[in-house]
Symmetry: C2
Subunit: 442 residues, 2 copies
């Protein structure tokens, strides 16, 4: 147990800007039973519990409350079983996401969800946040790969939900209520994941555009051609500039949009789809389209995309990463709207994200000490959120609500649906012991 101020410091924040609160103590349980014991003790002492993995969250979901107990599950890092025949993998919740996919890969299988932070994020954190990733369009998100969970409830009960069966309708799907609940309903201690066969081939392509509209039109044309690529990512001009500054991989910096496209599957299908996608990109105004020469180049391009956030974050003292998501058809409009808002408020905003999913990450490069500028950031965010909701979108596509999106969630969901959510919290955690104040206030 850590209680000394200097030891506790690293557990007082996560990946979200400008949020830092010191907990009372940090514990490192090793099993579900130990987590259950911790919760019982905390409950008896009426001390709130905030759970965390690696702390890569981007909505403040694992930022502590003053004096609370932090349970850090990072040492619960055992892969318990890879069941090749039933296509499942069972692991403790502190296992690093990439280690899950690596373990699956050893037997020719694949765990598709790939959040940007997959090299350091934990699988338990992914489940708590229902993390997305770069392959969402074709492969879905974390929820789509959860067959079962071991969960510690607010009263300290340890229970298992779900099983290895491909179909199961025995009662309500309770595991689904914990997936994406951000640590407010229970603590995920073990996961049973679904795996799929590893695609035999993959092809990565790059398309460069002089206008964002042309890039968005390409995406629509690809979907209209009944192709569902595994990845359709984009970086805008400012993001490309920062990435190139940071990683120096030879990306052209004078274009309006760089689109990274990837298709995977059977080699014949991959070749055919890749050719079609490149032709469609050209037809819709791409200035240049090319395929990665080899795996090394494909990895370099994907790494460039993954480094977008870090690259942008180097520019100014404070980085505010947004996560608005709109129906795919509203994408071009939304990107344009964000740029106009940024210009009008004289703000530095780089946008990147998942084009195929309509999931945008406008990233505000600012300085939290400059109150006047921060005020403009808030006004800009307000406008972006209002437009997102008007378009039938969501204020968070993959980062979660946590503390960062609390102010917006009721507006998106509406009164009835918001109250429904709160009634679930009251039913499962009546004393508000688990991660209080996240998502909503009771």
């Amino acid at each position: 147990m850590l209680t000394e101020p200097e030891d506790i410091l690293p557990y007082s924040f996560d990946g979200t800007a400008a949020l830092k609160v010191k907990p009372g103590a940090v514990l490192f349980p090793l099993t579900g039973e130990e987590v259950a014991a911790c919760v019982k003790l905390a409950r008896a002492a009426k001390v709130p519990v905030v759970t965390r993995g690696s702390g890569t969250g981007l909505s403040g979901g694992s930022v502590p409350l003053e004096g609370c107990l932090v349970l850090c599950l990072a040492q619960m890092d055992k892969i318990l079983e890879v069941d090749e025949k039933n296509l499942t993998l069972r692991a403790q919740s502190g296992v690093i996401t990439k280690d899950i996919d690596d373990a699956a890969g050893k037997v020719g299988l694949f765990y598709p969800p790939d959040p940007g932070s997959m090299k350091i994020s934990t699988i338990g954190g992914n489940v708590a946040e229902n993390s997305g990733g770069l392959r969402g369009l074709k492969y879905g998100v974390t929820r789509d790969y959860i067959m079962g969970l071991q969960v510690v409830l607010a009263d300290g009960t340890l229970t298992t939900l779900g099983n290895k069966c491909v179909k199961d309708v025995a009662g309500y799907s309770m595991k689904d209520i914990f997936i994406g609940s951000e640590g407010t309903l229970g603590i995920i201690t073990e996961v049973m994941l679904k795996l799929v066969p590893k695609p035999k081939a993959r092809k990565t392509m790059l398309a460069l555009y002089d206008s964002m509209e042309a890039a968005a039109e390409t995406i629509s044309a690809i979907i209209a051609a009944k192709i569902i690529p595994c990845t359709l990512e984009f970086l805008d001009r400012m993001t490309v500039g920062c990435v190139e500054d940071f990683a120096k991989i030879g990306l052209p910096t004078e274009v309006e949009a760089v689109v990274l496209m990837e298709t995977d599957g059977h080699p014949v299908v991959v070749e055919e789809e890749a050719a079609q996608m490149m032709a469609l990109a050209r037809q819709h105004g791409a200035r240049e389209v090319r395929a990665a020469a080899d795996d090394a180049e494909a990895t370099r391009l994907a790494t460039a995309r993954r480094s977008a956030f870090s690259a942008l974050a180097r520019k100014r003292p404070t980085t505010i990463l947004e996560d608005v998501t709109v129906p795919r058809t509203e994408l071009a409009h939304m990107v344009k709207f964000i740029r106009e808002v940024a210009d009008r408020h004289k703000l530095m905003v780089g946008t990147f994200g998942h084009l195929g999913d309509g999931n945008l990450h406008p990233t505000f490069l600012t300085n939290e000490r400059d109150h006047e500028e921060m005020h403009r950031v808030e006004e800009a965010l307000e406008e972006i959120v209002t437009e997102t909701i008007r378009l039938g979108g969501t204020v968070t596509g993959e980062h979660g609500v946590g503390l960062a999106k609390k102010a917006f969630v009721k507006r998106q969901l509406g009164e009835a649906s918001y109250e429904l959510m709160r009634s679930i919290k009251r039913a499962l955690d009546p004393e508000c012991l688990l991660n209080p104040g996240k998502i909503f206030d009771l």
Copy 2:
């Protein structure tokens, strides 16, 4: 509104054997608003509400309570929107499942969940039961295609959950709690479905076996070869006999197992996978393996499989259709176990189901008026359920709990998980107005 005894009669039962209770009245609302108004009236009058679509359910989920109000949503049958660009379809909940897929097909898209009853079942019923189908192995179940729902809550509030966004983590996934809740938490009045591109090719094959074990080994070999076919169905000897009697399509009746295999997707992949699957079937002891000559034959074979339940049901006065599901690796053992139990209790049992999903439908052909035989049926069911739970399976893979599986569900879930489910019911329907007594008693 229907209130006359002879008018009400057709609404006093569903597809489940031996369950019949007359409601007080039957109403046919046309919109979500009308459903909400009905619920408010029923609540004021303290009259329970049981919702139904076509009444094809196989667990008694829509069997009324004495004197209750039945809301039949079959006339809410409008497809409201097919959004080709966002790959979504919005429909009222009384639309027939097959009509959904047909509407998708017109724009080159596909709605994969295909419960056996898809020609007459309603989409709302499918969502309430989280229906499976023949394509579960590759394409998943109804839950996997629900992006949003319009729901009437127990207090008569009409609310919308979810949206057209591919990713959305703004709060708990409330739609997931209504999917599979069997009408006990809210009434589904509208659905927003995810569609996928229609596979370009499909190939149907038939393999005949002298032993069930050999059939199960083939399935394991196909999965080990990293092939995920869309369909892997089987019929045992008794089922094949009944189907052939009924449909006369030329199936051989002297084999132990008929396996229907289907792969779909890109034509090249389909040819390659079909060849591999046929080779694996031969290597694992299939007596005969052949591909359907054309679409007409493929449809005939699929129809034969879909008619299994009706064909068996003709044999004896009462048909009790089970729905146990086990992890795929336990399948051969479970089929053998069921046969031994049937023999020991001298019962007529035909088994068919979804081999790839581990989802078995042992079907008891019996007579509810013969109390001695019914007693033996109950003993046999008890043994099958006990073994299913021991193997880490579920008492219902796709039919739901309803009234039929109520006695077993607590044993499967365990105390903590069962109580968790009840706490959700208490939170969302504290007066127990909606479909009381289904899944569990409060």
